[in-house]
Symmetry: none
Subunit: 417 residues, 2 copies
């Protein structure tokens, strides 16, 4: 038993988009213990898609499709599948109803071309799409061959995968040996340094431990191959504990944890609140804090002080200091954090001021220079300097700045409590 | 004449890495005017790689390989190619010399397994690798079939592509025709509605016009196949003009334009400034405005009023209105936009208040309900309601909210000027 991933879309052949869907599906299949040996990308072309389906159905027993489920004439996946397995298409009134309702909820009416999305090969099941109009199908056109289709929009595909496909695949008894993994997240240490500290873990065979570098952090994947999740956790847990001990404060979370979630939980536990004062990030730190549902328990708000006058007027930054040291300086970062903390009456005030570039840097203050300020409710204020370097682009420097600010708050909260 | 891209590596099947190589090669082939109809990914497995090469060599005339050129036993690309075309491998002393020199420059000596990298099928040419040890090959094992191999390391592959492969492909007289494309972006219209309006364009054969749905917008790609970029633009330009006329205000930009950039340029042209007041987006709209370098010309700053008290204290929202209508209401959206405009002294104040979910919605105010307020410098204030629906997740609703606010400002700026 093995799977094959088939991605349909001329935009992939033209290089217009990066195929992130295939990586997601590859990881997911691996974690279910379903091996797959081939990935194929083909354009919106009936004959070639037919060719791909014929080849794949000879060498794999589960075909996972993405793309080609839209309402336009060049969306061909469903009808090509029907054609290959010589099965007529039938219209599903329940899909029509579902599409109309979804469009109505957005104040829209159904177009004629949406009707096409209600057609499935006779005998195929519907794979519901909670976030879009195009449902997928789940079909065994012959014994030992299962087809599953997803739209190409990544958010829709992922949600359908998680909410429907996973339980189906598990219920089929595929993947008797599962691969179960835990991801651990680290901040403030380079991959090579963490790897040097943890070298002996990389020689383990079950579970295996492998490092990955991700933007602004390092990740470790601990994977166990066992017959059950319980057995896997029993193998993974003691290794996790050892690694956490070695990494200390550099470890911040695992699996579904995000840095914003971890910081939020620490604030909530401490009964404390936070506000932000942002210059170069323009609201990105506030946006990061509020990715977490329920963040209003501890996140109060902030001031986006993009221009200096706002720093003076709303945050009480001293205009002389601004003039003498410049907006990107320790003293201004500190005053911004104190200012927002005072103005919004929060336990913590966190500020960011920096040069995100491109093209605003000088020799003394190069692109990638960022100061983060942190004022606490004991009247203390600190600031620290980050030098992300001009090798990064504007978006990356802004992301890394917000991420560094959140992480500093995390460390302070852990040391305070 | 068409190509096929074959990526070799078990790490791609495990989803450990994102396949950026294939997107690079896809774009490059398109820009050379060499069509490719299939992309295949296969693991480090002799039999399956053999199978892939056999299939590809029946349907394509240029096979472009990445991966599997390293020194370890699971690097199998070269020897599998030799096997498929029943050709012996021969050692190239010049490759051995090159590898030894490169390793010596790093203070290393050549290992036994590096010798493997000097083996190529008899008759194959060397594709030099300036930045790594593994060279590629360039080989016609039979008439009308050319194989080119690259290592999987993206930086090495790209440099080899640019420095050697491109000139070779051009010298073969392939790619006399180039494919040149323009992307057009639309807001506020569904793909199916835009498609209905533009249906007759989709039947064109050169240039071709095809729609794509993207989060919060629709895109059209206009592609021309010609002998030069100038000729392509001459074909694309009149179609672009016709489509822009039909789409009216729903068209917002093309190619490298972003909505934030377009809005920023309109503000700059008008000599006007903007500030933001954000509740559910928590800073995301400010962050979106400031993705544009130089946005300080027109973006002043904002207030993140996540909690109601901040709306009252800093934005002057009336506490009775807040109590009676709730934070997510027309009246509060309007007051927020007026408040931030006044406080920061800008031409425009843009506000967002809504329910991003999950789990905060009610029947009257469901998840996905968002109000955007817009105050202008003639004392006018308006607000509008978005219903993104609970089908979207929190991040998506927040993104769509900021995007809708920016787009409303764009339309107002276009109508005002």
């Amino acid at each position: 038993m093995s799977a094959e991933i088939i991605c349909v879309g001329t935009e992939l052949l033209l290089g217009d988009i990066l195929n992130t869907n295939v990586q997601f599906l590859a990881k997911e299949l691996a974690s279910l213990g379903i091996p797959h040996f081939y990935q194929t990308v083909v354009g919106d072309n009936f004959t070639r898609l037919q060719n791909v389906i014929k080849i794949a159905s000879q060498r794999a027993s589960i075909l996972v499709f993405t793309g080609g489920l839209g309402p336009t004439p060049d969306d061909l996946t469903t009808e090509t599948i029907a054609q290959v397995f010589e099965t007529p298409l039938v219209e599903h009134p329940e899909i029509i109803r579902d599409i109309s309702q979804k469009l109505a909820a957005q104040g829209r009416t159904m177009a004629d071309n949406n009707r096409k999305q209600a057609l499935l090969p006779k005998g195929a099941g519907i794979l519901p799409n909670p976030s879009g109009t195009a449902p997928g199908l789940l079909w065994q056109p012959r014994p030992n061959l299962t087809l599953i289709t997803f739209p190409g929009v990544p958010s829709e595909m992922k949600r359908m995968w998680r909410e429907t496909a996973v339980s189906y695949l598990k219920s089929q008894g595929w993947g008797k040996e599962i691969i179960y993994s835990r991801m651990l997240y680290f901040r403030g240490i380079r991959e090579s340094d963490l790897s040097a500290k943890l070298a002996h873990f990389f020689e383990l065979s079950n579970p295996t431990v492998a490092p990955y570098t991700s933007l602004g952090e390092v990740r470790l994947r601990i994977s166990a191959k066992t017959r059950s999740k319980t057995e896997a956790i029993a193998l993974i847990e003691p290794i996790t504990q050892k690694i956490k001990k070695i990494a200390g404060l550099d470890y911040y979370g695992s699996d579904d944890d995000t840095l914003a979630l971890v910081v939020g939980n620490l604030l909530r536990q401490a009964g404390e609140t936070a506000s932000v004062a942002e210059s170069c990030t323009g609201g990105g730190l506030g946006a990061m804090f509020t990715t977490v549902p329920g963040s209003s328990d501890y996140f109060i708000g902030g001031i986006i002080a993009y221009k200096n006058q706002v720093k003076i007027d709303l945050l009480g930054v001293n205009s002389k200091d601004l003039e003498q040291s410049g907006a990107v300086s320790e003293v201004v970062a500190q005053q911004m954090s104190l200012g927002v903390k005072k103005r919004l009456g929060t336990s913590w005030g966190i500020s960011i001021t920096g040069i995100a570039g491109p093209g605003e840097g000088t020799e003394i203050k190069p692109v990638g220079l960022v100061y983060v300020g942190l004022a606490d409710n004991q009247g203390r204020v600190e600031s620290f300097k980050c030098q992300f370097g001009a090798i990064h682009d504007r978006d990356t420097i802004r992301f890394l700045s917000s991420y560094a600010a959140l992480d500093r708050l995390r460390r302070r909260l852990l040391l305070n409590n």
